[in-house]
Amino acid sequence: MMSSGAPPLPTLLVIPTGVGCVVGGYAGDGLPAARLLAAASGCLITHPNAMNAASLYWSDPRIQYVEGWALDRFAAGDLALQPVAGRRVGLLLDAGIEQQLLQRHLQAAEACRASLGLAIGPVLCSEAPLGVGLSLGPSGVSWGTLEHPDLLLRAGERLVAAGATAIAVVCRFPDDPDSEALASYRQGSGVDALAGAEAVISHLLVEHLGIPCAHAPALAPLPLDPALDPRAAAEELGHTFLPCVLVGLSRAPDLIPLAGGRPSRFPGRPAVQPAAFAPATTLRADSLGAVVAPAGALGGEAVLACAERGVPLIAVTGNPCLLQVDGQALGLPVLEAASYAEAAGLVLALREGLDPACLARPLPPLLTRLS
């Protein structure tokens, strides 16, 4: 149904992290939507929150896995994306992780080498515990911070110097197994309290190093919850959340600073003139044909940058979240979709050159009266 003879329509899928989205706000439960949109568009650019399902993952050459800070910069026209066949993923482990839990993470990485053939390494620990802190913003969305960001960046620099071209980072997160927030999340009605801090960690690394990075939290195992929501189940399968990150990063695209965009801080990476790229292989913001986001969460940089450039914005009303920052509130024109299935239909229509308005009824006449 979704195969198309038309050229791919590069499409951006944004499911913001830590805002309680009913689709994609849990353990990689945005992945089916991402797969469908990849099939409809032929080329989907999305971020780890939409793809990461702890021990579960899906690798699709039509999907570009781009960390959130880089995704914003890409959408704003500051970066281009160059797909790659594969890359070496360095593993950065927080010194705050206990020995046994550390060993579990190393074994997860070994499994990805032995069973999937991924190029992983080198591995190193931060010089001291990084000190993850969790909090909620005034809106109730999850935020977080890091006590020692400098140690994180220094460890990242050492990994790059040792040959890593992407970094999977694992930080020790605070355990709070008896909290109401965690119980709500596991039962499918809360916000992912870890997500905000995870985003901060990966944003710091990508901004500083200019290579793909993504984060998996290290946590003690939780007691069995018989009322576990299916959307949270992927995080209960194993001892780590690391495999999906390693798989995602193993084919994440290169991040290329563009001349004329906001300057990057990437070390030793001069900006490239946009005209220097072969359009068939390099993805740039001006090649985007659609952006898909939850209808109430349109206030992020990537979505605003696309919408203000006139990229069709598909707002999924069937993915409510804590926020109500919608097209009407921001004065943005949107194509509403009740579900990701409908959004995929709209993407396919755009890819085929169909005007989505022609698919709705009633179909108003071009002229209501002749003047």
Partner: protein
């Protein structure tokens, strides 16, 4: 280097919103940390008829001393509230 969470409201003027948000965040960084300060992660988390849009942001600050919200007067007419989020 340190991280600081902030929230502020902006009453947008006419025209595209994103350049106004970037300018407002740039001014916030100047007030909080000066050179090297920058927004690491931000999003609009509310939009209200009378107050405009609420921005929640995590800043990267190079300078160690923190400036509290009460010491800062928003230096644009559009920014009519700024407060520091609860510390983690």
């Amino acid at each position: 280097m340190r991280l600081q969470a902030e929230t502020l409201w902006l009453q947008p003027g006419p025209g595209p919103l994103l350049p106004q948000l970037r300018a407002e965040l740039g001014q916030l960084c100047q007030r909080r940390g000066g050179a090297g300060a920058r927004p690491l992660r931000w999003a609009l988390t509310a939009a209200e008829q009378g107050r405009g849009v609420r921005i929640e942001v995590v800043l990267v600050l190079e300078a160690p001393p923190a400036v509290t919200a009460s010491q800062v007067s928003p230096d644009t007419a559009q920014a009519h509230a700024a407060e520091t989020l609860p510390q983690e």
